[in-house]
């Protein structure tokens, strides 16, 4: 025990260092996410003031596949229950923020070589991992406490609110612990982030698969994912407190794994030893594009596979969900209003693809920001000191930011279209329309790429923060803009607000052309700006 305590020496100063480095971004995500629940509760109260209204709303939406996929099944129709139901997917962002924070302060530090500098001081070998977990756990806990306190203050039941805050905090803990174990096992921060996010995404898809097409509540599949556990707690119902033990188990298991890995491995290494590679470059590695391909191919392939799998699952569960609503005589009016079963399918795929568009934008911004990390790390210097123009170098990475999302959305669209078409026996009819639903997201994605490209050329010091903030803004507007009753003018700030919902919108070419032109203008601005500025 004493030996273990020794490995934690220096945790205190490290915690302060992390808090110092994250003094802006950490309070920001904690507060935004912590106060979102009470804002949603307020909206729900405005929109559905009486129990009867809430009941009929819940009955309708939880039988349409779109809402089941996005938010899952509801348990109860009290104001608290309906708020918790509406936020069923939002907890994703708590997990995302937690895992990013952990990777940022463990593997990323090590990869940058800063961990070595600190490691030579009186620092126990578990201290960096421990400090990163401590800060993230603390932030999640603060988030949970603020969320619960604000919900109680708003007048929602105390125990339900406590369960709500606790579920969000522990969800964050679970993904912080998973990210810690992954970060100890992989050699690069990029890989660690990718794998952790994939686990998070898979957890969400499992929850969706457990909900859609099931009339009487989620199937056993939802027990495989932390998203499902939160559902099964029945927040603001008869809370199943024992489910928190599942969270505790996940946290304990992954923290123990991370600590065990970190105790054994060498600094800078992962689980697998680095293998030697080829002594001479292959034929393709001969210019900036070949280099960009080499640097980005791994993540492009992984994301494409992820999108194809996601598309397959979401397409595959659609027909079951549509059947349920079609066969329910009580919902005939709703079915009519949604334009029959093809109308239901269209709304479902529009919603799903809108979500995937936002995720694809995340990939695209990451691909564009390679430019920035190549520049700040000094790796752009030898390329630009060779006979390579700035435009060519920039274009080589932007090619992935522009064409990459097309590949991702294409993969998701084809997989979803095929799966949906096969399940209802009409591939020829389903595939083109589902694929089109996916591809119309592209111009909106490109606008966000354009924002990053323009900033890279003009204000490179802001490109990472503003680039990601633009995406976060779009996510907020798309997911919470309507429930928060923001005005149309504000909602229209998101490029995704202009993506037509096919094929309901007959005239859909115009906004796509406009978005593409805006994106092109932004990218051109970036390229021009880059011609004039200093390279770091």
């Amino acid at each position: 025990m004493k030996a273990f305590a020794g490995t934690l020496a220096g945790t205190g100063p490290l915690v302060r260092l992390i808090l110092r480095r994250d003094r802006v971004v950490l309070p920001l995500w904690v507060l935004v996410l912590a106060l979102l629940p009470v804002a949603i509760a307020n909206t729900m109260k405005d929109l559905y003031p009486t129990a009867a209204e809430r009941q009929s709303y819940i009955d309708i939406v939880t039988s349409t596949p779109t809402f089941l996929a996005l938010y899952g099944h509801a348990f109860g129709h009290s104001l608290g229950a309906i708020t918790a139901w509406r936020l069923g997917g939002t907890v994703l962002f708590v997990g995302l923020a937690s895992l990013l924070t952990v990777v940022r302060h463990t593997r990323a530090e090590e990869e940058a070589g800063r961990r070595e500098l600190l490691g030579a001081t009186a620092l126990g070998r578990q201290a960096p991992l421990f400090a990163a977990l401590l800060v993230t756990f603390g932030a999640d806990l603060a988030l949970g406490v603020i969320a619960a306190a604000s919900l109680v203050a708003y007048g929602l039941p105390v125990w339900g609110s406590v369960a709500f805050g606790l579920s969000w905090a522990l969800f964050g803990w679970a993904f912080a612990a998973i990210a810690a174990a992954v970060a100890e096992a992989t050699e690069g921060a990029r890989t660690a982030r990718g794998i952790s996010i994939a686990v998070l995404g898979l957890s969400l898809v499992l929850r969706m698969a457990g909900d859609v097409g099931k009339e009487d509540g989620p199937s056993w599949i939802s027990w495989l994912t932390p998203f499902g556990w939160i559902q099964h707690i029945h927040l603001y119902g008869d809370q199943g407190w024992w489910i928190f033990v599942l969270f505790a188990g996940v946290v304990a298991a992954f923290v123990a794994t991370a600590l065990a890995l970190s105790a054994r491995r060498d600094l800078g290494s992962g689980l697998l030893p680095t293998r030697p590679g080829r002594a001479a470059a292959g034929r393709w590695l001969r210019g900036p594009l070949g280099l960009a391909w080499r640097l980005q191919r791994g993540s492009l392939v992984a994301w494409t596979l992820g999108f194809a799998a996601l598309g397959g699952v979401l397409g595959g569960i659609a027909e079951g969900g549509i059947e349920v609503i079609r066969d329910n005589p009580k919902l005939e009016v709703v079915v009519q209003r949604l334009g029959g079963s093809s109308g239901i399918a269209d709304t479902y795929f529009a919603a799903i693809m809108g979500l995937l568009g936002l995720v694809a934008a995340g990939y695209a911004i990451g691909a564009a920001l390679r430019l920035k990390s190549e520049e700040t790390s000094g790796r752009a210097e030898p390329v630009l000191a060779a006979s390579v123009s700035r435009q060519r170098w920039t274009a080589s990475h932007l090619a992935f930011a522009i064409l990459g999302p097309a590949v991702l959305l294409g993969a998701a669209g084809i997989a979803a279209g095929l799966a949906y078409g096969l399940s209802k026996g009409d591939v020829g009819g389903a595939l083109p329309s589902v694929l089109a639903q996916a591809m119309v997201q592209l111009p909106a994605v490109w606008v966000l790429v354009g924002v990053s490209a323009a900033l890279f050329g003009l204000l490179p010091q802001l490109v990472a923060s503003v680039g990601w903030a633009a995406l976060a803004g779009c996510v907020m507007l798309e997911e919470f803009g309507r429930p928060l009753q923001l005005s149309k003018r504000i909602l229209d700030l998101s490029p995704f607000a202009h993506v037509p919902k096919l094929p309901a919108d007959d005239v859909f070419a115009a906004p796509l052309v406009w978005l593409t032109m805006i994106a092109a203008a932004l990218i051109a601005t970036g390229l021009l700006g880059l011609r004039r500025r200093d390279v770091l």
Binding site: R275, A281, R286, L384, A386, V388, R532, R533
Partner: protein
């Protein structure tokens, strides 16, 4: 090419916010010479090289390189030069061999035989992933890539800062060969012995300005020989001699520094006191360097005169 300067910069100014990194810098590198670019950390050496590479834009002044404009003609000029950055960072997932080939190809050519020979000489394993290389090995990757190219001009920014003495010797041998084969080398360094051993001409830079430029012989005129003598009897009147500095007289022993111009006078003055032994050390670049980097004039610092016995 003959007669034309490979690099000609005059009055270069570059500011970053409030800091004036280059403050009217002049630099001229003749074709086929090895030119030392000497200065302490933060003097502006890397900034100058980055202006010459067109990575950053000068605020004012003139810069020409290989007959072109470093900013406007960057892409064309870079085909004719090779550059080794001071702080070499590589792509962690690529092997050293891949990086060498990639840089060579982007520059427009690499001599395969020379690449193999250089790998041998620098004892570099090209099949290792860059993330496993030490600082010295990363530097070797950049050096091999530059030296194996057929560029006319080599821009080397403190290229030996991570190399061990054996590798440093290998590097020096390579630069000697480059000189003999007529390539132009601009070698930035704060290692004086390196510049002394390798360079035909030297430019010394301080606070963004060239304070001295010329051949080593030229610059030695500016510096002082250390003289130590044992005399037959205690000397008088040494302190009044022109060009004598740092005088220490301890009975019949004398130590001092003397300007080149004052050497005749000093020797003539010592003779009458009966010279028993005399050692003189030629000025090292070290002395030269120190003279330029001391803040304020050395003559104005009383501490330097302590120990004068009379």
């Amino acid at each position: 090419m003959n007669g034309e300067n490979a690099v000609a910069a005059s009055g270069l100014v570059k500011t970053f916010g409030k800091t004036r990194a280059l403050d009217g810098l002049d630099l001229s590198v003749r074709s086929s010479e090895v030119h030392g670019f000497l200065g302490p950390n933060g003097a502006g050496k890397s900034t100058t090289l980055r202006v010459l590479l067109g990575l950053i834009r000068k605020d004012s002044g003139e810069a020409r390189m290989l007959g072109g404009d470093p900013w406007r003609d960057a892409v064309a000029l870079h085909r004719r030069l090779a550059y080794v950055p001071g702080d070499v960072t590589l792509w962690p997932g690529l092997t050293g061999g891949e990086v060498i080939d990639l840089l060579g190809r982007m520059r427009g050519g690499l001599d395969k035989g020379r690449r193999a020979e250089l790998l041998e000489r620098f004892e570099l394993d090209p099949s290792k992933k860059s993330r496993t290389y030490s600082k010295g090995n990363r530097q070797k990757v950049a050096l091999v890539a530059a030296l194996a190219s057929d560029a006319e001009l080599l821009l080397l920014d403190e290229p030996t800062s991570g190399l061990d003495p054996l590798m440093e010797a290998a590097f020096r041998a390579c630069v000697e060969e480059e000189r003999n084969s007529g390539r132009t080398v601009l070698l930035s360094s704060h290692i004086l012995s390196e510049v002394e051993a390798l360079c035909d001409r030297v430019t010394i830079i301080r606070d963004g300005r060239a304070v001295e430029s010329g051949t080593l012989a030229d610059l030695r005129h500016l510096t002082r020989t250390s003289v130590a003598a044992e005399l037959g009897r205690a000397p008088v009147g040494l302190a009044e001699l022109p060009g004598v500095h740092d005088l220490h007289v301890d009975g019949r022993r004398v130590r001092c520094q003397v300007d080149a111009a004052g050497l005749d006078g000093l020797l003539a003055h010592l003779m009458p006191f009966g010279v028993r032994s005399l050692t003189s050390q030629p000025p090292t670049l070290e002395d030269l360097f120190l003279r330029h980097y001391e803040t304020g004039e050395p003559e104005a610092r009383p501490a330097r005169r302590m120990g004068v016995t009379r």
